[in-house]
């Protein structure tokens, strides 16, 4: 989104203020110069305290060992945390899972919604709004509520899912979804995806309305079938939105899955459903190892920074605007 902003609504060029430079130090002028900063002050000051300083402090802690107990001080250990981190099996597994979650979420955040939005695009009237309203509900529900519901649905002996599967004869013994190493992460993925589908669908549907119908008419007249139209008209013209959702999905999927992991599986069984954010959280507040957690944070800040730079470049290259 930030890149879209920059591209379409670039801020006025920074540089000399339009007032002619005057050598006299005039109080009014000083006030005028300071004004923007005064307005920016609350936001920037608060961000400095709660965002920037902590970020730097985290980077600092990455090189220390500390248990956060008052009365103890961080102890400098150099690169030791990083070394331990890279040898820690659980951590390495979690990286794999993170990748899995990120990629696995894409069908739910991009593919299915795109298809749904396109197929239902030409619907009229009231029903459309009713559908929209209903689709959106998963998005506004809080993670804990969602987790409780799904935990109940997937309960090993008495959950609806198991009951139905047994009745259909698909399985002959109930599956303990959250304790099963094969299933746990997929269920987490499913739940996160469930929450996202409605949101993405609506976003794409809205973007679709921005596409000029004439393109489709012209293409039909030229004999292009709907599939061709989809790939050559719809997708390119939707590319800003698609890239936006792609960016959001890649960068935030790990955060979205966090709550579900914490409530439903705590990363188990034996680490098969955890992701890096969850590991970071565990190192800090369960193992009371602030240095370890911070080292992981630093590592991933770099990695995600690179990824977002990459996505930025992608966006510039592939975004196609109807100009």
């Amino acid at each position: 989104m930030s890149q879209l902003i920059r591209k379409e609504y670039a801020p006025p060029a920074a540089g000399k203020p339009s007032i002619a430079r005057d050598r006299t130090w005039n109080k009014a002028k000083a006030m005028r110069r300071a004004k923007p900063f005064l307005y920016l002050l609350p936001a920037l000051a608060l961000l400095a305290v709660w965002m920037y300083r902590p970020l730097l402090y985290t980077f600092y802690l990455a090189f220390h060992k500390w248990s956060m107990v008052p009365g103890t001080e961080p102890l400098f250990v150099g690169l030791d945390n990083f070394a331990r981190l890279l040898q820690n099996k659980g951590f390495l597994d979690s990286i794999g899972n993170t990748v899995l979650y990120t990629i696995g979420l894409l069908p739910f955040s991009i593919v299915i919604p795109l298809v749904l939005a396109t197929v239902t695009h030409h619907m009229e009237g009231r029903m459309k709004n009713v559908y929209r309203a209903l689709f959106f509900i998963p998005m506004i529900l809080a993670p804990v509520s969602v987790s409780a519901i799904w935990r109940w649905l997937f309960h090993p002996s008495n959950g609806l899912v198991n009951i139905v599967l047994m009745k259909l004869g698909a399985i002959d013994a109930p599956i303990a979804f959250f304790s099963d190493p094969g299933w746990a992460k997929w269920i987490i993925l499913l739940i996160t995806g469930w929450k996202m589908v409605g949101f993405s669908t609506i976003m794409f549907a809205a973007a679709l309305t921005g596409i000029n119908r004439e393109y489709y008419e012209a293409a039909s007249q030229d004999g292009a079938g709907s599939l061709k139209q989809f790939f050559h008209i719809t997708i390119p013209l939707m590319s800003p939105m698609i890239i936006f959702m792609l960016t959001m999905s890649i960068l935030f999927s790990s955060q979205w899955t966090f709550a579900y992991i914490d409530i439903l599986t705590t990363g188990g069984p034996y680490g098969t459903s955890t992701n890096i954010y969850y590991e970071m959280y565990k190192y800090a507040f369960s193992n009371l190892n602030a240095g370890f957690s911070s080292a992981a944070a630093l590592l991933f800040f770099v990695v995600f920074g690179l990824i977002s730079l990459g996505l930025n470049a992608l966006s510039r290259k592939y975004s196609f605007y109807d100009n």
């Binding site: 920037y52 300083r53 730097l56 402090y57 600092y60 248990s67 956060m68 107990v69 008052p70 009365g71 103890t72 001080e73 961080p74 040898q87 820690n88 099996k89 659980g90 309960h155 090993p156 002996s157 008495n158 013994a173 599956i175 303990a176 959250f178 304790s179 099963d180 190493p181 188990g268 069984p269 034996y270 680490g271 507040f285 369960s286 193992n287 009371l288 190892n289 920074g305 730079l309």
Partner: protein, 439 residues
């Protein structure tokens, strides 16, 4: 991307300031056994972090225990106990690191060492007078006293604990043509029984959650292996006997007659009458009993199964009382509370209301104590009998104890649950990793 690094010096100064002004408890306040004076007119307040208060089946019992103390001894001597429910057993850590007053913690056994090293818990010998300790410990089974000792010093007094026993569903046993009053004694017999139950009734025959975190050690010890070496400097569970024990479990788990799921899910299944046997703590007995009465079947019990004719070695579950007094009057106040809750009256309440083992085994025959209760709940005798063979559950050494617990449990769960996994390889790898963490 601009990262303003020029804040670094300011940051460092700030950090140093924060570190130095971190208030309160420094990690080694050894107050010596100096007891302060308690004044009933001016009661000393102590905080007690307990997880039992957050579990619905244990809450009433724990509340009763604390209230009775506050109303009797507390009032008399001038101590007020404020209980904090710690559902996740993490709250006390967070509160200690937040600088709050945390005096007594109902602490799980396995992570005691790391708490000792980083959270300022004290040894009983260092804060309570020797004669009082000696007098109080009379009547407590010596094995039980060992459970909370690290390097010869007691950092925790076993509080609510039990040993694992096998609960049986009488109805399912009978339906499978087995006699619940003559329960399986070896793992071989358990396996046979579970398969029979599954075949005859369609319900799972056996349940033991792979990530249970303590009964696992019983298994390993019962086969003659060690978990933690005697000198606490290394782990040894990946010995041939250990591997053999876990392989037996894996075979049992994957034979189609075992219930999957976590400890609570397996217990739930048992309570719903859908499981033939479950291995878990006696603390769940009252819940099981109620469920069985509602469901129209009977609960039977037997001791931990053995490997062949090697006697089984149960380990302890539950918790102990770990203390962090930071002043002489706190010392005295805490000691009063501990004396009460681990005294005769305390254990009478704990066992009859919550379901854990009485540390003072004499109570079982004491008509003013637990005699009636035990008579009505004969399953407890199984537990008391096993007490003679109990070995402490591993108190993982060093400050990385929490990570070690995770690594250990994960390795066991993986070994048991993966059909084509190599148990020996998984366990050996875990052993190496954990040994590295201990250094």
């Amino acid at each position: 991307m601009n990262r303003t690094k020029k804040r670094a010096p300011l940051l460092l100064a700030l950090t140093a300031a924060i570190g130095l002004t971190g208030c309160g408890v420094s990690a080694d306040s050894s107050n010596g056994p100096e007891q302060g004076q308690l004044d009933p007119a001016n009661p000393t307040k102590i905080t007690f972090y307990t997880y039992s208060l957050a579990a619905p089946t244990m809450k009433p019992g724990m509340e009763m225990l604390i209230k009775e103390f506050n109303d009797t001894v507390g009032k008399e001597k001038g101590v007020v106990v404020e209980a904090v429910a710690d559902a996740t057993m993490q709250q006390y850590k967070a509160d200690i690191s937040a600088g709050k007053q945390v005096d007594i913690v109902q602490h799980p056994f396995s992570t005691l060492d790391s708490s000792r090293l980083s959270l300022g818990f004290e040894a009983y010998e260092d804060v309570f007078p020797a004669e009082e300790l000696e007098a109080h410990f009379e009547g407590i089974s010596p094995n039980a006293l060992e459970l909370g000792k690290i390097d010869g010093k007691m950092y925790g007094l076993a509080f609510t604990f039990s040993t694992p026993i096998v609960f049986l569903n009488g109805k399912l046993f009978e339906e499978a043509g087995l006699d619940p009053a003559n329960p399986p004694k070896t793992w071989e017999e358990i396996k046979a029984a579970s398969l029979k139950i599954k075949e005859a009734t369609g319900k799972d025959g056996f349940g033991l959650a792979p990530n249970n975190g303590w009964t696992t050690e019983s298994l390993i010890l019962s086969n003659g292996a060690e978990v933690l070496a005697e000198d606490r400097k290394s782990v040894k569970f990946a010995s041939p006997e250990g591997i053999e024990a876990i392989e037996m479990w894996k075979d049992l788990y994957l034979n189609g007659a075992s219930a999957p799921g976590t400890d609570s899910e397996v217990s739930e299944q048992f309570m719903a009458g859908n499981l033939g046997m479950v291995v878990t703590s006696t603390a769940l007995y009252s819940g099981f009993k109620k469920a069985s009465e509602a469901g129209g079947w009977e609960v039977y019990g037997t001791g931990l199964p053995q490997f062949g004719d090697k006697p089984s070695i149960p380990v302890n579950s539950g918790s102990m009382l770990a203390v962090r007094p930071d002043s002489p009057s706190k010392n005295a106040a805490i000691w009063e509370f501990i004396k009460f809750v681990t005294g005769d009256r305390g254990y009478t309440i704990i066992t009859s209301q919550i379901g854990y083992l009485p540390l003072r085994t004499g109570l079982a025959d004491d008509p003013n104590g637990l005699k009636d209760f035990i008579d009505q709940n004969p399953l407890y005798r199984i537990n008391l009998e096993q007490l003679s063979r109990i070995k402490p559950v591993a108190i993982w050494p060093g400050e990385y104890a929490t990570e070690i617990v995770t690594a250990f449990n994960d390795a066991i769960a993986k070994s048991v649950m993966t059909p084509d996994g190599d148990v020996s390889a998984i366990l050996t790898q875990a052993q190496q990793d954990i040994n590295a963490m201990i250094q």
